[in-house]
């Protein structure tokens, strides 16, 4: 029973992983670019939620506020930084977002200090019993919303005209340009969407879990593991892998010990690297 409880908790957290990892994989799929600051975007989403509580607004504002703030940040980062290094040498591509990650992480340390924080109790506190399995309301809400949003991202990419345009730019920038699509705008939008997915995921996690400025690094690594397991550039792959990693983490934490859950997850990453570097749903 406790095992089942851990599994449910893991799947709910896995839904959040799926959400922010699909943002990372979207950028990779569109422009062969790894955003090393993606975990920091998740962390910022959490602090946006904290700031929202400081101005006495309720949890219903967390998600939208984080989405808007991070979307803006994503577009600014693309316009000011990524656009200029995208076709430059590999070194500047990697250093650009890596430097951004350091800047954001240590600025957060400087402003918010390194203490772990939890959001003040809201209507979301308390637990529910689902057939004998106890889940906190906040965890349930975060997991379900994240799952829905990750699915929404997939639908947006595969079923709408906007999604087709985004994928067209990913497929062939020049051909897309000839079809009257402005690749710059689409890529800026992709960065906005990607950052927003990270921000919402952060805001959702902030309801249910404590956080500090150092969590960004952990989430960046989690996202790398999820994305490489799911296959680079594959949003459905990232979603499936997100659930798998959430589950593995929870079960490893329960069966082996909470200290080792990250060890198991990163070990899984090394295993994927050796056995199937293209990931579950990746090609080539």
């Amino acid at each position: 029973m406790i095992l089942l409880q851990a599994a449910v908790g893991g799947l709910l957290l896995g839904a959040v992983y799926a959400l922010f990892s699909s943002g990372l994989t979207l950028i990779w799929g569109m422009m062969n670019f790894i955003n090393f600051a993606h975990g920091e975007f998740v962390m910022l989403g959490m602090y946006v939620a904290l700031l929202v509580t400081w101005v006495n607004l309720g949890p219903e504002v967390f998600g939208p506020a984080a989405a808007v703030a991070l979307m803006l940040l994503g577009v600014i980062v693309y316009m000011g930084l990524i656009k200029h290094v995208m076709r430059g040498p590999m070194l500047s591509q990697i250093l650009s977002t890596f430097g951004l990650a350091l800047l954001l992480r240590y600025s957060a340390f400087y402003i918010f200090k390194s203490d772990f924080r939890t959001l003040p109790d809201t209507a979301l506190s308390g637990t529910l019993s689902l057939g004998g399995i106890y889940v906190s309301r906040a965890q349930l809400l975060a997991g379900l919303l994240a799952g829905v949003l990750a699915l929404g991202m997939h639908v947006l990419l595969t079923r709408t005209a906007l999604g087709s345009r985004l994928l067209a730019v990913a497929e062939d920038r020049n051909a897309a340009m000839l079809m009257g699509i402005r690749p710059d705008r689409m890529q800026a939008l992709a960065w906005g969407l990607s950052a927003a997915s990270a921000g919402i995921a952060g805001a959702l996690m902030a309801i249910a879990y404590p956080f500090s400025p150092s969590v960004g690094e952990t989430f960046a690594l989690t996202a790398f593991v999820v994305v490489s397991l799911g296959g680079f550039g594959s949003v459905p792959g990232a979603m499936i892998a997100g659930f798998i990693i959430g589950l593995v983490e929870a079960l490893a934490g329960y069966l082996i010990g909470p200290i080792y859950k990250d060890v198991i997850v990163y070990g899984l990453f090394v295993a994927v690297l050796w056995i199937r570097p293209q990931g579950l749903l990746g090609t080539g």
Binding site: V85, G88, G99, V270
Partner: protein, 334 residues
């Protein structure tokens, strides 16, 4: 002829530095900063082989640094051996780790290698941090008092400075010889374009792997020197991500893929770092890394070639300007 003069000035300056600063009030402090500077330059030069020349940006060089730092201290902890004996074993461990990481990741291109190195470094930091034999989260210590000269414990930073400088000279010599060899040309071909290099018959995977192993061996020596001087290492100081960051930013700021870039980077960064630490006290390290992040971003955006490249662009123009001005002055005087 200019570069040759430049290197004479550089090495001469590094040779006399501890003697010159010994005449100042805070000579001990400045000598210690000098030792950190040279050590930082060794790490950056080692990173430069794979990150600069081969263009494979490793974000996990702390793995090799940590191997070099932990193994000698472990040799003391377990067998009471002088840490110096552990240095070659540290190299072996680092090279083995390099092979383990390089073999699978070099099948893939681009950012994949960077991402894998960061994840493996974190994995190793976590494992070491929970492993009692290697000191877990607390870390391990070297000999507290010297048993003989071979424990390499000195009160002054000057002996360390010169040991480090000798290793730096060796590292630069290896890099220089490598850059001129066929192997060095292969590396630059890979950096310029992997597919093109392969079509010219370069064995891309093997060459990248060799570069990573060489880089790992030298990085591990830097780690050993650090551990011997400080006499202590813990997961954060030996394997933390900031160890890798230090190497990357030093090399990139000076000029990745150039012979002297990493040393120039260290000459700029290390004094800057100890200045911010002194000025801002405890909160200084946080500010230092905000600054680092900003510098790395600006470098990537505006001058990925670093200071060496900047000098190549601005330097000749500046010299010409100065010469022209001197000429007009002379003309006016006459």
């Amino acid at each position: 002829m200019r570069p040759r003069w430049g290197s004479i000035v550089l090495w001469g300056g590094l040779l006399v530095y501890p003697l010159v600063v010994s005449f100042t009030d805070s000579g001990d402090f400045l000598q210690d900063v000098g030792a950190s500077l040279v050590l930082s330059a060794i790490g950056a030069c080692a990173w430069n082989i794979v990150g600069g020349y081969a263009g494979q940006v490793s974000v996990g060089h702390a793995i090799f640094f940590g191997a070099g730092a932990y193994v000698p201290l472990l040799a003391y902890e377990l067998f009471q051996a002088p840490p110096l004996i552990g240095v070659p074993f540290g190299i072996v461990v680092a090279v083995a780790m390099a092979a383990l990481i390089g073999l699978p990741t070099f099948r893939l291109q681009g950012h994949y290698f960077s991402m894998a190195t960061i994840a493996v470094a974190e994995l190793i930091r976590l494992v070491v941090g929970n492993w009692d034999l290697v000191g877990a989260a607390i870390g391990i210590q070297g000999p507290a008092t010297p048993r003989a000269w071979w424990d390499l414990i000195f009160r002054s930073a000057v002996p360390y400075y010169y040991i480090f400088l000798a290793v730096l000279a060796l590292t630069v010599y290896i890099t220089w010889a490598m850059a001129r060899s066929r192997f060095g040309y292969y590396l630059r071909a890979i950096r310029a374009g992997e597919r093109a290099a392969r079509s010219l018959g370069v064995q891309v995977r093997r060459t990248k792997l060799m570069a990573l192993m060489l880089s790992a061996a030298l990085t591990s020596v830097a780690g050993s020197l650090y551990a011997i001087k400080v006499g202590f290492v813990n997961p954060e100081s030996g394997l933390g991500i900031l160890v890798s960051v230090q190497m990357i930013i030093t090399a990139a700021l000076g000029g990745a893929g150039t012979l002297y870039g990493p040393i120039i980077g260290a000459i700029i960064l290390v004094p800057l770092q100890s200045a911010t630490n002194t000025w801002f006290g405890g909160s200084g390290s946080g500010l230092t890394y905000i600054l680092y992040g900003g510098i790395i971003m600006l470098l990537a955006r505006f001058e990925p070639g670093g200071f060496v490249e900047l000098w190549h662009q601005v330097g000749p123009r500046l010299l010409r300007l100065l010469r022209a001005r001197a000429k007009t002055e002379r003309a006016r005087a006459a």
